[in-house]
Symmetry: C2
Subunit: 102 residues, 2 copies
């Protein structure tokens, strides 16, 4: 079974870290993909032109910033966007980013 | 007279660069200060706990990302937030960031 990973609480999330996490093209792509889904996904199911270790690094950056949650589910880990938390902390921010031309 | 500095056009502004520019605590502080002003300011008038060269570096990062404009005015340079441009490109983004707890 995968272990539980640490996540920042709402009070621990910092805007600078959220912005840094979203400022990378690969991580922004992951967030855009997650935003299209109503449920979380196994992180491997998002197609990315990067190695598995790079993917893991990016996921950790997003999780530690408070942008995504990664939860064990059986033998897998399920990643989902912390949309409600981000919308509560920074109303408008995520929508503004997701709607950006790309 | 200070020379005219290059600025990205609206079409050249990239969300990743905007987010990177805003992800730094000193630059975010500059943007928050600029957002409180109805007019641009000489960049030296924003109090910052950094050296002049660091300030110049941060201002360049903000300008090159499209977050601020820096225009010659007599012998000075006047910095202002490109609020209308950012709001047009990413509605909600700047408000969400400016309203963030800090």
């Amino acid at each position: 079974m995968p272990e539980e990973l640490p996540h920042p609480s709402l009070a621990e999330i910092r805007i600078e870290r959220v912005l840094h996490a979203l400022a990378d093209p690969v991580r922004l792509h992951m967030v855009r993909e997650l935003a299209t889904l109503s449920e979380g996904v196994a992180c491997g199911s998002i197609e990315l032109p990067v190695s598995k270790s790079t993917r893991t690094h990016h996921l950790r950056t997003l999780r530690e910033a408070g942008v995504v949650s990664v939860r064990p589910s059986g033998t897998a880990r399920i990643t989902s966007l912390r949309r409600a938390d981000l919308d509560a902390l920074y109303p408008g921010l995520l929508e503004g980013i997701l709607n950006a031309p790309h």
